[in-house]
Symmetry: C2
């Protein structure tokens, strides 16, 4: 992948960048996600190779970090190759949604992955109970959780297959661990290629330095200007990246919205996911003429793996649109993206950059996700927050617990 930056890259911060890089290198020894591209996946490959061929549907019971990553990758790749099995998600306690999703499943051909790091997630366990009560067959379930969690103990007692999260890998950084790899491998997605893409970005940042400067410069820019540009938009020109942007929203928002470690100020950068060209007809006006509080990163696909052209016909009274004739749709969508970038470059004070993915394949999305994980770690370090915790969500959980106890 390639990353072009259009805002002013201050060359002055050479020493500061060197220090940041050193800090991240130290952090990478204790925070688990950095090393996931190099993990041994033989057990996962073995598990998926020997998996019951009669199973047509894989269902993830998981929420947030347990679902957003695998969904992003599955939905990115689905349009170019029909998956070996269909992937479904239960992510809500909304009864309409649970009923609607269940309607689509033949339980006999379905396997459930219960994914919860702590094992005590209210949404996951309530839906699991709903499904398990009439289907108490241990073969229908695989559990992915922390070793020693109560869910692990339950699964052991039940006699179901278990996988464990590696140490020090938080939910929103877990897509390249068993959390993402198990469901994706069962759907026939090439997880080796996925990790290879991530590994290339890791090398390009830590070793040969190709992506080092764009990543450091972006992190510096976002952190230094966080009070003015408090909103960071991704504008991705392909419908296939819709769920990637949802994954990005969790990663960026939950990692960087914090009380600072030293100053105790409330800081945070607000992520927004946009899809082009659709959101040219929605959000673009606000970027162009609204308050200068947004940065925008465009993401383009160099190749769409799909040849499709506008037929060369003339529609009476619509001759002005004959300029569309014979154009490949993949050229059209990228021209639309380039036109918006050019238009925004003419505006003042909107920091822009552009990421180009080579193609719709597992390697591209693995690279993109690892790139964003690195960017999040770098920016969090500069904002002086703990990038890897989420203490703010506890208060609501405690109130819910009290409500449940008196229900």
């Amino acid at each position: 992948m390639e990353n072009k930056i259009y805002f002013d890259r201050s060359a002055k911060q050479f020493e500061a960048k060197k220090n940041l890089l050193a800090k991240i290198k130290t952090e990478s020894k204790s925070i688990g996600y950095y090393n996931l591209p190099n993990q041994d996946i033989s057990e996962i490959l073995e598990f998926s190779k020997n998996f019951d061929e009669s199973i047509e549907n894989i269902v993830v019971l998981g929420i947030g970090g347990s679902s957003l990553g695998s969904k992003a990758i599955y939905e990115f790749l689905k349009p170019i190759k029909t998956p070996k099995r269909k992937l479904f998600f239960f992510e809500s306690t909304d009864p309409l949604n649970i009923a609607d999703t269940l309607k689509q499943l033949d339980i006999k051909k379905t396997h459930f992955l219960i994914i919860s790091k702590s094992g005590g997630t209210v949404e996951t366990i309530s839906i699991f109970k709903y499904i398990y009560a009439p289907n108490p067959n241990k073969e229908n379930y695989t559990f992915i959780t922390d070793k020693g969690s109560n869910l692990d103990k339950f699964a052991e007692k039940l006699g179901s297959k278990r996988f464990y999260l590696p140490e020090n890998v938080g939910g929103r950084f877990s897509v390249l661990s068993v959390v993402g790899l198990i469901p994706l491998a069962l759907c026939g997605i090439d997880i080796k290629e996925l990790l290879q893409g991530a590994k290339e970005v890791s090398n390009s940042f830590f070793t040969d330095g190709l992506l080092k400067d764009p990543l450091l410069d972006k992190a510096y820019y976002y952190a230094n200007n966080h009070d003015v540009y408090n909103i960071n938009c991704i504008f991705a020109y392909s419908e296939t990246l819709k769920y990637f942007t949802e994954w990005y929203v969790q990663l960026w928002g939950e990692s960087l919205g914090k009380n600072q470690r030293h100053a105790s100020c409330n800081v945070g950068l607000t992520p927004i996911g946009l899809i082009g060209p659709k959101d040219q007809h929605s959000f673009l006006q606000l970027i162009m003429e609204g308050k200068r509080d947004k940065s925008v990163t465009f993401i383009k696909l160099a190749k769409f793996e799909h040849e499709m052209y506008v037929p060369p016909i003339t529609l009476e009274h619509l001759e002005a649109l004959d300029t569309l004739n014979n154009i490949a749709f993949h050229d059209l969508i990228n021209m639309q993206c380039d036109s918006v970038i050019e238009a925004l470059k003419n505006e003042k004070k909107i920091p822009l950059d552009e990421i180009v993915l080579p193609a719709v394949n597992a390697s591209s999305i693995g690279a993109l996700m690892y790139y964003y994980e690195l960017l999040t770690s770098l920016t969090g370090e500069l904002l002086d927050v703990n990038t890897y915790d989420q203490p703010g969500v506890e208060a609501g959980k405690i109130i819910l617990k009290e409500k449940l106890e008196t229900y």
Copy 2:
């Protein structure tokens, strides 16, 4: 619907509010959307009653204001009642998306609605050409456009059925016009009830004054604090409202992100759509501990029309979660919402309010959408912007036109 406000409502602005109300009453005589709840829909009902019964799929070729509204309503109601026909949307020039959507359609059982106010939308016409070239049968298409547009003239020549947008109704305010009503009526949705819901909000604002104060107070708060609270989140506790939030993003962002009429400053309020409880595991941390730059409106459903309970089983080692036993999922999701509201009330400087919809029906969603249209008009007036235009998107269109001409 009911709207409870938890931030400080200044009682001092009595005169200012009276003036604002007077301005909006004047505006409502020229801006077309205000009066849509009272329109004559007999032609639409007749058209849908006599529609070819062999047609199973309705496809909207339209983007932005031509698609977001009908999609929001269709997706809101779909889980409680299987629609008479399925509704599809082509909203992108992404070839993977076009191919993927086409695969799901039996063209013989499909009718296409081409919706474009101006008639010259690049996305809509390029996809129309792709579909029309091999299927040049006038019976397969209905056109919804401005009277006298080039698309109108083309459709007249072709001999297809045409419907016209009423005067002075912009795309993003057009959901309750033919733009939304035709596709929804063809899918068997009760459009009379939809308009009735909107009418009740209109009466409640303009006549009996029940919703007048919450709407005026909210508009004042958002406008007066737009520089501090530049982000307005909707946190809706039902998956059925996911596409409503996408409609809201266009309405709010494109209406309010502008150069001011008098001061020529770039102003704007950034809309964000969140779905609970899912986004408790994503965005909530940023709201709780991040920068105080966000207001949050919670939307709840009083009734879900679906009885479903957590079975009263005990899972060994997970006994702590037995508090979930026998709870109705619709109570659980609303308790989750209430818990988050309580937790946020304990934080400082996060302006909150809460909207409760009585049920999942056409009247509720009609009311909610009209409520948000009014709120947008009121806030736009106070921000001193033209709420109804979108000049900022033209620059990109001009650049694209040049690129197409030299392709």
